[in-house]
Symmetry: C2
Subunit: 231 residues, 2 copies
């Protein structure tokens, strides 16, 4: 079934507008067809009624319930110096099932918090677009940036992808009963050894990927995907 | 240590030329520095001697021996209709440790064998460039295209990534003692159900990735990476 992003709900109706309206037209959706529409209030199964001025009008048939996936994975991604790489990270880990992405400021990361904040709307939009492609029920949450030194072990399992190729193999993790995972991934140049030590001292478990050195965007995708597929 | 691609070996020397010579200059490699150089005869630890006309001359110190990784993974990748996507696949599965990539012609794949053959030199070049980044010892082999109907179960473990989300979870595979894996991945539109059935009838085991629908280039990267990291 085709999936669209809706805006406001008016009683038993949802309006589709803007870019999504164009998609509706490109895909030649006809009156009477069933669609899935995501609004800020959740997913709805809808019947398409037709166009009214610059809106596509959908009749709500029913709310679509879903159970969130466990464990929830929060990716603490040190912001790539090539900011554009964050877009690949978002598309990748959205497919792989991460719950939340937090841009992190570290020694070798992109460091201007103001610019990161300006990028958030674009990154949130990408997260929504990716949701339609990969079939998620809830968008990957893109959060506000934080400093690496502020990270704490707040999840059941707290991991750092060690770019010094030390630490546990990912298959040796015990995931039974784990409801939440934090995963910290470095920027293009990796963490400094001081940073890795700081995270280990705080209780983050160092983890390594086999067999070679991954590019940043592949590393976070692969790490999240392995965690999701090992559960 | 910096790594370069060499061409011919002259006695105890290797010459670096062309694009690689430019890299040598950009990275300001100085006479006396140690380098790793890949030639068609394998890897060599070399001492850089200096420039001679349009060549960078390296003295061979010793051959670098390495043990190939097991299991070897051959990715039978149905050729993406957007041929450019194959480049992402190559870079991805090279990092993830695939041994060989075979472009496959299937119902919904790119189907012009002649054009694929013309692309092979470019794809082999990408494989070599990726090797330098990810630290592999041997390049991902990019092979000649084959028809999907010609595939046989020639490995210890023969898998097809099922786009109908059926089949085993990847964590439920038994990998002990497996020395070779074939993995078949569909094109952008996936396999037809007839094609999946044909592969199953031949003995390929259907496999699925959790939790969402991956884009082609992410699917092959993630599948190869999980196999490599589960061993």
């Amino acid at each position: 079934m085709e999936r669209f992003l809706g805006k406001k709900i008016y009683g038993q109706k949802v309006a589709i507008e803007g870019q999504e309206l164009k998609h509706l037209k490109v895909k030649r959706i006809k009156a009477g067809e069933l669609l899935e529409v995501l609004t800020q209030e959740g997913w709805f199964l809808c019947k398409f009624e037709g166009f009214q001025k610059d809106l596509g009008i959908c009749q709500i048939v029913e709310r679509i319930e879903y159970t969130p996936r466990f464990p929830t994975i929060t990716l603490y991604q040190c912001t790539p110096v090539h900011l554009k790489t964050m877009e690949d990270v978002i598309v990748g880990v959205s497919q792989a099932g991460a719950h939340r992405l937090v841009p992190v400021i570290s020694e070798r990361s992109f460091r201007d918090k103001k610019t990161i904040l300006e990028k958030l709307p674009r990154w949130e939009k990408l997260s929504l677009e990716s949701l339609k492609q990969c079939g998620r029920r809830e968008p990957l949450i893109v959060d506000h940036p934080v400093e690496l030194s502020k990270l704490e072990t707040t999840s059941d399992l707290n991991l750092v992808l060690d770019n010094y190729q030390e630490g546990l193999k990912i298959k040796d993790l015990r995931l039974e009963g784990v409801k939440s995972i934090s995963l910290v991934v470095g920027p293009e140049g990796g963490f400094s050894s001081k940073e890795v030590q700081m995270l280990k001292d705080k209780g983050f478990i160092a983890l390594r990927l086999e067999p070679y050195t991954y590019r940043l965007e592949a590393a976070s995708l692969v790490a999240v995907a392995i965690l999701t597929n090992l559960v």
